[in-house]
């Protein structure tokens, strides 16, 4: 009775949990614990979240000081203003990179991530290697991603150990003064929102 979701091809080697979670879905639907629309809505919810949302927030902040202020003081309100509805009780805080400070986000305990804005985190963010090393050797981690902060820049790591989800507001790259908001948003990579790198320039 698992309606319209696509099914994995029979015979494809995959996790034993694939069948188990489908079994759980089927049983929960049979027993009326969940309904089809409820499951589908949850699937759709995550599909509509992506790093493009974060890029929009950053681009608007770069162009509008007032919006930047709102993003830094009440990030959920800022998101709502751009039509991005977090719909999630966790706090959402944006931390700003400056010429003197570079921020890096990690969740050592479980890989929390601002999913309600950015969608699912990348595999590397959830890896044991990232979770172990980002707190202890952030500069070495960033080097692996191809980024070295300039001389004199402090690196600040945020371990999201409670129910706050963090996102970085990167610095606007030089030479982008003439760009419109959409062009600016294109420069903002997901990696720059986590802090392992900086935007394209």
């Amino acid at each position: 009775m698992s309606g319209h979701h696509q099914h994995e091809e029979a015979g494809r080697a995959t996790s034993p949990y694939a069948a188990r979670i489908r079994a759980i879905e089927a049983l929960l639907l049979d027993k009326g614990v969940l309904t089809e629309p409820e499951v589908q809505d949850s699937i759709t919810y995550m599909e509509t979240r992506s790093p493009a949302n974060g890029a929009k927030l950053v681009a608007r902040a770069w162009m509008d000081e007032g919006f930047e202020g709102l993003l830094l003081s009440d990030a959920k309100a800022a998101a709502l203003q751009l039509g991005i509805d977090p719909e999630h009780p966790a706090e959402f805080i944006v931390v700003k990179n400056t010429p003197g400070v570079h921020n890096l986000i990690v969740c050592t305990l479980c890989s929390c991530y601002p999913r309600a804005i950015l969608g699912r985190p990348p595999d590397w963010y959830k890896s044991f290697e990232y979770r172990s090393r980002a707190v202890r050797e952030p500069r070495a981690v960033m080097r692996e991603f191809g980024f070295e902060p300039p001389e004199g820049v402090e690196v600040i790591v945020h371990d999201s150990t409670a129910d706050v989800r963090y996102m970085v507001l990167p610095m606007r790259p030089p030479g982008t003064g003439d760009m419109g908001e959409d062009e600016l948003a294109h420069l903002v990579t997901r990696d720059s929102l986590v802090g392992v790198n900086v935007p394209r320039s």
């Binding site: 706090e91 050797e137 952030p138 402090e154 600040i156 371990d159 150990t161 129910d163 706050v164």
Partner: protein, 97 residues
């Protein structure tokens, strides 16, 4: 609220069993209160289906990386922040900033 921004604090070295949201690498470490994030039900109790009430203060706590790791590769100004519940903190030594 026991703590104010700038207060020196130390993370309790407790080896409490069960679900905790204070990472091992911070236990026993000295830092400072950066800000009060808010008050929330205690996740250690929510994890077992209890109400988690009364709500507990949650602080953004700063640590010098050089204080956390003997072999930290980076300048003395590098920091780490973690979000720590009040019941995991005790007043630290030294003056408030």
């Amino acid at each position: 609220m026991t703590f104010e921004p700038g207060d020196s604090v130390r993370v309790l070295p407790s080896e409490k069993p069960g679900h905790v949201r204070t990472p091992g690498y911070l236990k026993g470490k000295a830092g400072w209160i950066e800000s009060l994030i808010g008050e929330f039900p205690n996740p250690e109790e929510l994890a077992y289906g209890h109400s988690g009430l009364p709500e507990r203060p949650l602080y953004k706590v700063g640590f010098r990386q050089a204080d956390l790791w003997d072999d930290y590769e980076g300048p003395a100004e590098d920091y780490l922040y973690a979000d720590v519940y009040e019941h995991w903190l005790e007043p630290g030594e030294g003056e408030s900033a």
